[in-house]
Amino acid sequence: MTAEAAQHVCRQPRLRISGVWKAYGRRQLLRGADLDVPAGTLVGVVGENGAGKSTLLRIAMGHLAPDRGTVERTGKAGYCPQHAVLNDSFTVMQHLRLFQAAYRLPTLARAHELMDLLAFTDSGRQRAGELSGGTRQKLNLLLALMHDPQLLVLDEPYQGFDWDTHQRFWSLAARLRDQGRSIVVVSHLLHDLHHFDAVGHLRDGRLDMERTTR
């Protein structure tokens, strides 16, 4: 494959959302939203509360059916929901082993690396119901990352993180992007916008894309 062809493949989208419409009852939330996320890009999705950011991401992951429009994605995907989806009766290690089985991973080496990076290695034996809000969110994020997916869809993944962990998250996101992963992050923090290669503003049910000067 020539360098030009390799670059072309690299820019092909891992996730393509085309003309997606979604209503809840009479409330029309999405009105033809489009989004292409190529390999090696970190894309932000911003918008007011209730604009439909989480709905768009759930549709992107196939958890929710759009009323109209299509979603196509390729490769392994990892999804971090806005609210930590964990079983309060299970320990952190039980979560890791269950998701190891789901992702069919031979080892938990990467999960342990991520635990170390996110600074919660001591919580392995604790039940999810006993974890602090920030640590629950770390586990929630880790479950989306532990299989090293090519596409990452993260819905406000750093809620409850302390400043150090927040910074480490963005370093990790940048490293993954540089390794060719595609990342979509819902954010509402203005000071995070400089991390993105492009930002999609969700307004009136459509995404207005804007490239940033990172």
Partner: protein, 264 residues
């Protein structure tokens, strides 16, 4: 670490531990079952009761107090298994959906949950039989234990189904309690509604007929025990169907990179 867990055994292990960690369910099992049997022992009359038992094909004579103890034992077991299976399935619902969408095999997940229902119900049945054996002069403990087990299985399956279907915790509680109360009330020969039509369509019918025959006659109507197993199998299959519908992906996952051309 090179150990790769099997989807079935890991889910079974976690689900069993989850049941044991549910203080409310354990408390219900340990306290409510003997308490409910004791209520029948203390409150039900000692008079001899004659009732028609379809599974034995004959009329049966037995002390109303003893009949009430057996029926109350079944009622307590159905409430405990129905409640605990509902709670476990309901609480795990969102995480289970996340696991399945991440690639966890659905069938193995549900089989592990059904196995957990069977193991927990077996444990509850043994405990209930120990209490009944102290309280009642029962000669044939084995068949009665199987009847208690099959009653628990039927309601364990119902708990599993409700846990996969209903949206609210209270709805599930109410449905489990209401169904168990109505079912055990109608099946109880002391209340004399044995000739009510449609009684055999209720989940406890088979187990109750099996239990009463085992406790008060010399017959062992296995087919009636199988009725409860059929209920358990049917509710588990429906739970799998509900789970399957709620976890199907709604987007196209392409094996290759997407084409760079605009999409319509």
């Amino acid at each position: 670490m090179t150990y790769r867990p099997s989807a079935y055994t890991e889910m079974l292990r976690c689900t069993l531990l989850g049941h044991l960690r549910s203080r409310m369910a354990v408390l219900l099992a340990v306290v409510f079952i003997p308490a409910w049997i004791m209520v029948a022992r203390l409150c039900a009359p000692d008079r001899t009761l004659r009732f028609s038992l379809e599974s034995a094909g004959t009329d049966v004579l037995a002390p109303a107090n003893h009949v009430s103890q057996v029926v109350n034992a079944l009622a307590a077991v159905t409430l405990v298994t129905g409640f605990s299976m509902f709670m476990e399935t309901f609480k795990a619902g969102e995480t289970d959906r996340r696991l399945v969408l991440a690639g966890y095999p659905k069938l193995r997940m549900l089989l592990a949950k059904v196995t957990a229902v069977a193991l927990v119900t077996a444990l509850i049945a043994v405990y209930t039989m120990a209490v009944l054996a102290v309280s009642l002069p029962v000669g044939r403990l084995g068949p009665l234990a199987l009847a208690v087990f099959s009653a628990g299985l039927a309601y364990g399956g119902i708990g599993l189904l409700l846990g996969s279907l209903v949206r609210g915790e209270l709805e599930g509680f109410f449905l489990v309690i209401m169904l168990s109360l109505v079912d055990t009330g109608l099946q109880n020969p002391v209340l004399n509604v044995a000739d009510l039509t449609g009684l055999s369509a209720l989940p406890l019918y088979g187990a109750c007929q099996f239990a009463l025959a085992a406790a008060f006659t010399s017959s062992t109507p296995w087919s009636h025990g199988l009725l409860s197993l059929a209920w358990s199998a049917a509710t588990s299959a429906l739970a799998l169907l509900a789970f399957h519908v709620r976890t199907r992906p709604h987007c196209r996952i392409a094996p290759e990179m997407l084409a760079g051309t605009p999409h319509t």
